[in-house]
């Protein structure tokens, strides 16, 4: 047990370190922050933004029902962040194994006294931590915005929404990690991950077009549908289970795929 944790920690630290000293990771983070910040400003403060709309409705005196601005904002903003992440995450996961294969360091990992799934778990934890670090500044500016809301906005909804986003990201990264283990080309891994994620993202749109037993079953797999629950402040255990299943599936497939590598013609 002790060696298990020390191995996991070693892999995790190396993975995390590789992001924090890679210019590539910083470029991705900066793009994420720029676009994320731009969304925030546009949704709140632009002439067509939420605050302006509510203000206009108030002036006309035609406000049939009260609008919960922070709640509306959080819903829209988290959806945008989710969509943005769909583009960013494949780029974070693409190198997880493809890079190791290209450099030959996978041979080092495979000949060390380590189980494959420990390596996979350590790597996944590393990349999820980096994504969390990318999310943190955006969470802080949201907190600043919510600070001024009157009455106070419950922090639990905000945190639940971000927890959902983190689960979504971990699922996508786990699948991306598996795809990354399939080849030694990072570009190929990114493109394939993007394709798979896109299909899972819109699978409920496909599901509506399909007949009864297949359609509803497919809808349960939709990332978007379950993520939307979280952004609305609804905690649904089926969403949690779905995301955890994707993560476990990704880890399992990665471990299997790395094991299979040894049986291939080198």
């Amino acid at each position: 047990m002790k060696t298990f944790f020390s191995n996991l920690l070693a892999i995790y630290r190396r993975e995390l370190q590789s992001y924090f000293i890679s210019p590539f990771a910083y470029v991705i983070a900066v793009v994420f922050w720029l676009i994320g910040g731009l969304f925030l400003v546009t949704i709140l403060l632009s002439p067509q933004g939420l605050i302006a709309q509510v203000g206009a409705a108030d002036q006309l005196g035609a406000s049939p029902q009260a609008i919960d601005v922070p709640y509306e904002f959080l819903k829209i903003y988290l959806n945008l962040l989710g969509s943005l992440s769909m583009f960013i995450l494949p780029m974070l996961s693409m190198g997880l194994y493809a890079e190791e294969r290209k450099r030959g360091t996978l041979e080092l990992l495979a000949t060390s006294p380590l189980a494959n799934w420990v390596v996979a778990l350590g790597k996944l934890l590393g990349v999820v931590t980096f994504y969390s670090a990318m999310l943190l500044p955006l969470l802080i500016i949201q907190l600043v915005a919510f600070w001024s809301s009157e009455p106070t906005f419950p922090a639990a909804i905000l945190l639940l929404g971000h927890f959902g986003l983190l689960l979504l990201a971990a699922s996508v990264l786990a699948l991306g990690m598996f795809i990354s283990s399939l080849s030694d080309s990072t570009v190929l891994a990114a493109v394939m991950t993007f394709g798979v994620v896109l299909v899972l993202w819109v699978v409920d749109a496909i599901a509506t077009a399909l007949p009864d037993p297949i359609g509803p079953a497919l809808r349960h797999l939709s990332l978007l549908a379950h993520y939307t629950d979280f952004t609305l402040g609804v905690f649904d255990s089926s969403g949690l289970i779905l995301f955890l299943s994707y993560i476990v599936l990704g880890l399992f497939l990665t471990a299997q795929s790395v094991d299979t590598l040894r049986f291939q013609r080198s």
Partner: protein, 366 residues
Amino acid sequence: MIEVDQLSKSYGSTVAIEDVTFTVEPGEILGFLGPNGAGKTTTMRILTGYLPATQGTARVAGKDVHAESMAVRQNIGYLPETPPLYPEMTVEGFLRFVARIKGVSAGDLADRVSSAINRCNLNQKRTTIIRKLSKGFRQRVGIAQAIVHNPPVIVLDEPTVGLDPRQIIEVRNLIKSLAGEHTIILSTHILPEVSATCDRITIIKQGKIVATDSPEHLVGRLTGKDGYRLELRGEIDRCLSVLRTLPGVTAAEVLAADGLAEGRSRFQVTTGVEDLGSAIAARVVGQGLELFELSRNRASLEDVFIDLTMEDSASDTTLAADPETSNPEISNPEVLNPNTSDPDTSDLEASTEATADREEAQEENA
């Protein structure tokens, strides 16, 4: 320390190694010699637990490499052909990482890393990022990662490939200094390497072991190949007849005479008895021929290697059909051994004579 018994590995229908059997005693350096594609890397990968064998068993420190893989991995240090390095890490950071995943306890970590760094002479580069290191230093970091957890067995796959001559000598000395407390297997296709570093040599050809012996014994098998080279001035036919009529000379022939001064030619003399040099010189001079050079060529390890790895490639149609295992370059000694400046050390004509010796060698191995 290492026992390999009838190990076979095939990739689909291609046989990579077949019935490979050898043992390595504790503290010994075994050289694994063979042309490219002979199955050296495959054997090493099976030993390190990276590849599963199709048949046969391999045991490292008494443990089966497949059934007790984790225990074996802890006891083995492995340097693959391309050193597995993370270019963005510092030398020290990388070695600490490797020590951790190899199961070195936190208390010993700093000591182990320092001793690996000292061993491999990496002290000045301790905090340098690996990306900025030269090829020679990277190779040393590769060796350092193989020894950082102080494994009883070290497996090195072509440790000197791509290094300059000075770096090659440094790496060889490093390897030699590791022998004794560690058991080492190293693979190479460079011949001086094995004669310089190894206690024993296993020659592998097209997936099969053709000989295992000490370098001296291997060379000793080809004693029939002793001969002399002469540079003479005189009429070629006369020179030949003088040489051929000398008692003890079994054959004499003209060698290519490029670059020689007008009227001079080079001859190769094959002798049946030992130490004929003085007799040849006396005879040649006595007959009024002018002698410019007389040198003895002994069988070298290279001759043994070429002899063992080159023969019957024409008759062996199944192997010749496989482009990866048959190696046409082997007939060119220059390719085999880029470090030898003398292009004539290997004498291809003589290899047929040694067929008998070779067959004996194979029987011994079987």
